[in-house]
Symmetry: C2
Subunit: 354 residues, 2 copies
Amino acid sequence: MVEHGAGAESSGGSGSARAKRPTMADVAARVGVSRALVSLVFRNEPGASKETRERVLRAAEELGYRPDNAARLLARTRSMVLGVMINIRNAFHADLVEAIYAEAERLGYEVLLSALGPARNERRVVESLLGHRCEALILLGPNAEDAYLAELGAHTPTVVVGRRVPANGVDSIHTAENKGMRQAVDHLVGLGHRAIVHIDGGDGPGSAERRRAYRAAMRDLGLQDEIRVLPGDHTEESGEKAGDTLLGDARLPTAVLAGNDRCAMGLMHALSRAGVGVPQDVSVVGYDDSHIAHLSRINLTTVRQDAEQMAQLAVRSAVERLDDHRLPSRELILDARLVVRGTTAPPRGHASAL
Amino acid sequence: MVEHGAGAESSGGSGSARAKRPTMADVAARVGVSRALVSLVFRNEPGASKETRERVLRAAEELGYRPDNAARLLARTRSMVLGVMINIRNAFHADLVEAIYAEAERLGYEVLLSALGPARNERRVVESLLGHRCEALILLGPNAEDAYLAELGAHTPTVVVGRRVPANGVDSIHTAENKGMRQAVDHLVGLGHRAIVHIDGGDGPGSAERRRAYRAAMRDLGLQDEIRVLPGDHTEESGEKAGDTLLGDARLPTAVLAGNDRCAMGLMHALSRAGVGVPQDVSVVGYDDSHIAHLSRINLTTVRQDAEQMAQLAVRSAVERLDDHRLPSRELILDARLVVRGTTAPPRGHASAL
DNA sequence: AGCAGCGACTAGAGCGCGCTAGAAGTACGG
DNA sequence: CCGTACTTCTAGCGCGCTCTAGTCGCTGCT
């Protein structure tokens, strides 16, 4: 590592001592009006003449004044801030966050992001969000148990994205997992697959439903003897591990339904490491359609969830619940749709049907 | 879309009306002590007996009290909050953020995240961060011009990650782009490549240095006639576009140095769409070694930047600058190292050397 | 002339907390 | 008995802002 000192002393525009942050009072004093008036101007409220408005803004600019959100939050009855919990490793969450920002802005809300991490569990993230006066929480793919979410929902409007939450007081938005899984199984069976394994998403959002849907679909198609669920979760690592498990077996399945896209990525990593071709030897289906899935290096067949719509609904639900605290909790279920790309094909030795 | 009403009225633990958030005064009243004492307890400061400490904590628990960060920030002289600007689409930023959280916690700082987006430019993100009383800023891969960063740095400790910033008062942390690029070019030339194109990162962080290093390396190796730089930026789209440009030409280059990993991904997308094999027909090198690069579906040869170390240095720089405002600005340059994976190979028809 | 109505502005009380100065209680030595 | 030291606790101001309830001067209407 190399270190370059700049040599020169840090020179601010405002002299050597880093000036204390200017406040509303400073602006007011400079213009010769009351603080309240400056407040009006910055909140874009009526009650100030066009001329004073300009003078205030000019003075603020000169002083480098910037409204202090902490104080604003404190003083306001409403904070107009939505807290969003994300898994920063999850590309699908990135899609959601972008849409959340957009919708929140449209409705006049600010967004505070807090990410999960190795040393930051869901409770810590939520604490942090709540500590910053978020009025409502939007949790992307939480793993927490229903009881905890219910408790949260009891005192803070809470919206869960990606999973069903039976708890009262908590809205949930997710796709129709059963439809998505059913389409995936149908697709594979249509291609001629029978040995179709499912890698479970553990306690990840939507996993229980996906597992159930997988089992139901297999049974419906007369493949109950082929049902096989491998433990896993929604990370690349679990996909890789499941892949290794499969590779250790005598016979590989011809197709795998991963718990989500990330899991599918890990799985393909393991398979390709072992020289197993996708889709020549094994077909793989993901779940999410995160924006990396369509990159053709990956080109993953997956179940599409509409991030933009989910995000919009999440924000709107939170806001509606904020406007009327006594709303009954809702469960919004969006359609899921299989997107067929390049990781699925007829099993080896199977004459293409029709 | 289906909507399920829960039917039952939202039932909180605390009755039907969503109780106002309890404050320190509520806790104090319940225990029968002063607010100041409760404050002591929650700040873990000496001055309260073990017994009262417990009573206070118990009462807080019962009331569901949670310290209000907005008020805390306002009252405290120091806020102990670091603001971090990220591009949520960038997997390398995810790596950085995780490490930033860890290091910040170690040093007793909180972290506030704010993401760039289609409708959120860098200035907006910075405003938002500053408005929430962040004491210092860590900007991951900013595009903003130096003058703006200098202005920022003049009144707020600012650390830029991923790019050189000549501005006084701004620390910058980046890798030795010249070394990284040089290694990449050496590697390709060693494999027998001569027609090596570089896709530029536009005004993205580090791009200017990478471009310069590419040119220098090519010249040094006697390949000045093969120098070719395609415009681009640090997104998948730009890689795809550059790929299309190349595909439109009479002759493809045998190797491409992308501006970063995302650009490389887009490029490979375009190539593979056109039936061009990587690395059989074209070798591709990325830059970042974000955690998706090593997934073997991608298996990208790339220049590794040590996210953890960069993040740690960023946080420490910010904190040191916070402790002593008059520190000269520094530029920390980390080593870069080429990681050879599966997207580079000898050009077609080239007998492997030695 | 009298007064309601309006636009432009201000005084001042909070919001929930941190923090300084100091009070009250206990302990000990002289 | 007082002085000193220490622990445990409290009073109350201030952080930068919002917001309610005004004041003030002016117009327009009866």
